[in-house]
Symmetry: C2
Subunit: 355 residues, 2 copies
């Protein structure tokens, strides 16, 4: 079994802590180790280091290698630019199929939070069993609330219990539903969140790419051929910008009828915004999550994330407060998704020092 850790995100919605030069996955946001390191530690019992690959932005390669000293340096691949998850996964597939086309390859994100590591590894084992039968496997999360920022998976026919773990044919994918639809999905009990964590044999996903994303498939073959004579970095510099940009969800999973979902009850969160930290982290009796020095008076359901200063709150509720060396962010938790817009605005105003 092989694992591919996708570590190329920018984590804009966790600004101002997450910055261009140091995005979410490279930060110790929730622990003393970074999210990337925690992700690595979590899967290390299942994979030897030489079976783990990390795909990240070119600018982060040195930082990633520094954070993961046990990983052979060549297994950290830097994309010259982001092209979505399908090409990134494709690069991992090329690495694996050279060694063993029938090996199972997992694709995971470097910036997800998972509460129960052991249950997670057990779920990966179950997913591998299903993947070995030639399916495209995605892990599905029991929805905790009618989240509108996630993709939903409708469960179809049960597949039996490989490895003692339930699995279902995927009847339908629905991206980011409106609030009413999300509510119906959650109430029906038939829907799971799409975690973006996948398992498949290298040969299976390569075949599916050939069918559903032929341009990407050809690009990958071109890259593979060029790498015989040239260094991978040089090849990517030349060819990566010609690779079609697409997510694996849209490109393959939503089209293929070969997709199976394995429910994962592991305490998953994509830490997609500051509001997610209010759900993930332990709160006090007023529902406040305080990271750093927080003086709270008549304060409820509020996240305080402080880099060093004391944050004093009085009479506030449902608020996100993030204090960094050069920026203080304040927004209601139900606007946490729009933090991205602030970053866009700063980019527009060319205030690069804050990006």
């Amino acid at each position: 079994m092989y694992a591919l850790i996708l570590a190329g995100g920018v984590g804009t919605r966790l600004w101002p802590r997450s910055r261009r030069t140091r995005p979410k996955q490279l930060l110790d946001l929730l622990a003393t180790r970074t999210m990337l390191q925690v992700t690595y530690d979590r899967i290390a019992p299942l994979f030897p280091p030489e079976n783990i690959f990390v795909i990240t932005g070119r600018a982060y390669v040195d930082e990633v290698r520094g954070q993961l000293p046990h990983l052979p340096a060549g297994q950290v691949v830097g994309e010259p630019m982001g092209r979505g998850t399908a090409p990134a996964i494709g690069l991992g597939v090329l690495q694996v199929r050279r060694r063993d086309p029938n090996a199972v390859l997992f694709s995971l994100h470097a910036d997800h939070h998972i509460l129960r590591d052991k249950d997670f590894r057990d779920t990966l084992q179950a997913a591998a069993d299903v993947a070995r039968d030639g399916f495209l496997v995605t892990l599905g999360i029991q929805p905790a609330h009618p989240e509108t920022g996630y993709g939903y998976i409708e469960k179809g026919r049960a597949l039996g219990h490989p490895g003692g773990h339930p699995a279902f044919r995927v009847a339908r994918f629905t991206e980011k539903p409106n609030p009413e639809t999300a509510r119906q999905f959650v109430e029906s009990g038939r829907y799971l969140w799409n975690s973006g964590i996948f398992a498949w044999q290298a040969s299976t996903i390569m075949d599916e790419m050939a069918r559903w994303m032929p341009a990407l498939h050809q690009s990958l073959l071109d890259i593979e051929a060029a790498c015989v004579d040239e260094a991978e970095e040089t090849v990517l510099d030349r060819l990566w910008q010609t690779v079609p940009s697409e997510s694996i969800d849209v490109g393959i999973l939503e089209r293929s009828d070969n997709v199976v979902v394995v429910p994962a009850d592991v305490g998953w969160s994509d830490v997609g915004s500051w509001a997610a930290l209010l759900n993930i982290l332990p709160s006090d009796s007023d529902g406040n999550v305080s990271l750093g020095d927080h003086l709270a008076m008549d304060t409820r359901q509020t996240l305080v994330y402080s880099a060093g200063r004391m944050v004093a709150t009085l009479g506030v509720e449902d608020l996100i407060i993030v204090d960094t060396d050069d920026v203080v962010l304040i927004c209601p938790k139900d606007r946490a998704q729009d933090v991205k817009k602030l970053v866009d605005e700063l980019a527009r105003k060319k205030q690069d020092q804050y990006l």
Copy 2:
């Protein structure tokens, strides 16, 4: 004419900018000069430096002298401890009556904001005319809203127009009314806010003290007698703690039937809380007042006061945000008066570094 500037407050409700070691009146909160300096500049056209006294806390004497280099050092008096406005004014009265018992003495606060300086000086001249007839004069402010944090003055019989300025007998003082009463006061048109700015002859206020505050009167005579042989500082160290603590409002003005109010339309604010700055300072089209770098998105009626960091707000309304080197404060503007409670809590927890 003499002026006594009361500069002994601690400005707790403007924490965390106002600190024990550097209270509100010694800060450049609203301008490039401090509130004390602005107060001095405002009255300087009416009083030569040798006719201006400043009463402040012992700890602030050097700072006050440094901020007001034109003022003879001996005219800055340091109280060993705060005893309320009546004893502080009493000290000023002692200074003035030695020189001219019939001189008019003004009492002003070092931490008030006044928009129209020239109108203010004209009003002081009018108040002096009334004071010379033996009245205790207080300046009354036309209420702008049903503020519950101020004292209200009910106007009585008109006194005629000395110096072309209206003046009224005071029918009644009411301290900090409840919201419903405050609303009725404002609607009636018969009430003015008590500004705490007074004018009277030294002899008049000394006589009133003898009648209504005989213990204070005796203390002042004792201090005056002791100062013949000893330095004022030594005398105060010995006697000040025995002086009864009281405000001039409660001690005399609410009792005497000799009080006259002169309306003052001068753009007055006592800058009593951060919320006051939202009223005083120029706002943008969304009603925001931004001092420092403020990135505002969907933000209304919000005060941002920043010491250097950028403050980014998204989807907030009616909020006070104050960023200093070591503390960030966030509260709704209608809780601005309660900032004092945060300071009390820090004092209780002995977190003196933040006081």
